[in-house]
Symmetry: C2
Subunit: 397 residues, 2 copies
Amino acid sequence: MGPGPINADPRVLRAMSAGLIGQFDPAMTTYMSQTQELYRRVFQTRNEHTLLIDGTARAGIEAALFSLITPGDRVLVPIFGRFGGLLREICERAGAEVHVREIPWGTVFRPEQIAEAIAQTRPALVALVHGDTSTTMMQPLDGLREICDRYGALLYTDVTASLGGNPFDQDALGVDAATAGLQKCLGGPSGSAPAAFSPAAVERIERRHSVEAGLRDPGQYASEHRIRSNYFDLGMIFDYWGATRLNHHTEATSMLYAAHECARIIVTEGLAETIERHRVHGAAMHAGVLGLGLRDFGEAQHRMNNVVAVHIPEGVNGDAVRADMLNDFAIEIGTSFGPLHGKVWRIGTMGYNARRDTVLSTLAALESVLVRHGVSVPRSGGVEAALDSYRAAGNPA
Amino acid sequence: MGPGPINADPRVLRAMSAGLIGQFDPAMTTYMSQTQELYRRVFQTRNEHTLLIDGTARAGIEAALFSLITPGDRVLVPIFGRFGGLLREICERAGAEVHVREIPWGTVFRPEQIAEAIAQTRPALVALVHGDTSTTMMQPLDGLREICDRYGALLYTDVTASLGGNPFDQDALGVDAATAGLQKCLGGPSGSAPAAFSPAAVERIERRHSVEAGLRDPGQYASEHRIRSNYFDLGMIFDYWGATRLNHHTEATSMLYAAHECARIIVTEGLAETIERHRVHGAAMHAGVLGLGLRDFGEAQHRMNNVVAVHIPEGVNGDAVRADMLNDFAIEIGTSFGPLHGKVWRIGTMGYNARRDTVLSTLAALESVLVRHGVSVPRSGGVEAALDSYRAAGNPA
């Protein structure tokens, strides 16, 4: 019940134990195409270039940024948590001239702040996190497309923590590039990064298209303006996933099965229903921690559905509480990074763990551990508040 | 039965369906440490910095080369197949001044050729493939350490195709950095890259050590000489796998389980026994294709145990034969890349597929398909030659 990775859906684990098939076996390429179509529905996009990056969520981020950024490009990174800092440093490593704007952790940007920063910096790319688990905040993206269009900037966002558990409509928002991971609301293991790219993003990437030596005729071997990474060269990855099926890496087949199953489960449940499930169980957990007398962190109206942060009560050893939760109840909760390390606990309700039983068990266990640590806690305050929240939501299972 | 990926060992597939655990759960970090110890035995090394890169074999290559190469470094890449070309282009993208030496596909370098090239180019790093599946050749590495030492060069080798199926003793050979993948002789799925780094390699990497913003105190945030990739910054990955357990990516837990099981199976069978199994079944397949009247490609004495290439007989449509093998017998065999595309078939016997039944079934099926395609083939010539080869090896199961 931490901020992710979380318990994977058993169906996803089972999917990974299917036998492997050759990477250009028609069964395999069909499976790849199906996966693309499933993720178009999860990202809510028609983008042809919707695919998986073989690596963790961070690999997806790096593939997008290294492929979109030509060294020297100006990039604007609005930072409201740790993962904004990660975007900054990946942009720096990609050779960008990086401009950042930072606001206090626990808040999000107002559109006019971003508009002003874009007007000042005239970036080729705006890169920002959608939901930053370090603070549990979700940055509203409405209106950013229009602002970016005014200055011809592309818009990238990291939806690792938010996708599947919070509203995200890539095409309606006009997001050019979005990358995710399986280990949050998608209910799978870390190790595959679904990603989707708009035609404008693809156009910018294809300008630097190159073909690996030994695959086609040597004339197509480009040596200038190549993307700084081979593994994350999206032009090559597009060739691998697209009609040409040009060899690049060897697709991580078991992770493809996992990614496929994660999306299939969501599409079967219904994307709107999946998001609503996250909202309901997240709200119950939020009500529950407040019912235990804990104080939530950050602007509550901008909290992601799937994770809540609470201040660790004064005088309480946060790590000792976490250890007791893990050792006595086999329930993991998190702390956070940097300025929030040891200051907050983060409790997740996402993917397979966004359930009534997990929410109530976590609150009951937390109450008992807090009591043992000398915290004055209303008896059953967490469980009762969560049950009230469930009742108000029509008492879902 | 292609050049890899191959059918994974069922035990590996089963291992992936185990439930996930938190990334800093003591059970997880213990499991990471066990995995490191298992791979020390597979690489035959005492290198403390033995770990997994989260991505395919190519991710391991890029992590090693991006972390070992400072832009401007001279690097020597001896090329004897497609994957040497890949090393070249990754080194170029890492910003190296790359010097290559190329020899005809189907041959390997003599040590004096490499010594001469090192003397001429004085590289900071020599990067070469151990076994290149595109040609099936395995480059002998003996003596290269001494040659590299003469000029202070580090030695990197890609053992993706060879490890576990052919002799490779990292410490005895004095290899500074070696990276692999699971999908060949290790008998697992693509998606995790075991890698091992000598103290000299670690020393070079640690010179450019940096810490991600938001993780520790800001004073340690290095902005100069940083490695060009965050995802592949081995200094950070060492911090994640080492005693400090500093957060980097979210470890791909299911792939860790797979990698762990691949190595556990090999260590249980015995590394020497596993290699011998590859030798015996590879020799039977080699004998078998010769027994079918096919002509092998490349210098037979330098062939890897686990894959054999044969010339496609004149007038035969190689892809049609491959399609019949796949559609009628569910057996995949490969062709190759670049100059060998459509010229050779490549048949693998590796990992879980290095077995008597798979070898004999493949040869029987191939005979039947060749006959259908009008090739004059000695009746049962493949199976009988393989059986003779098995008898000469003491008739193993």
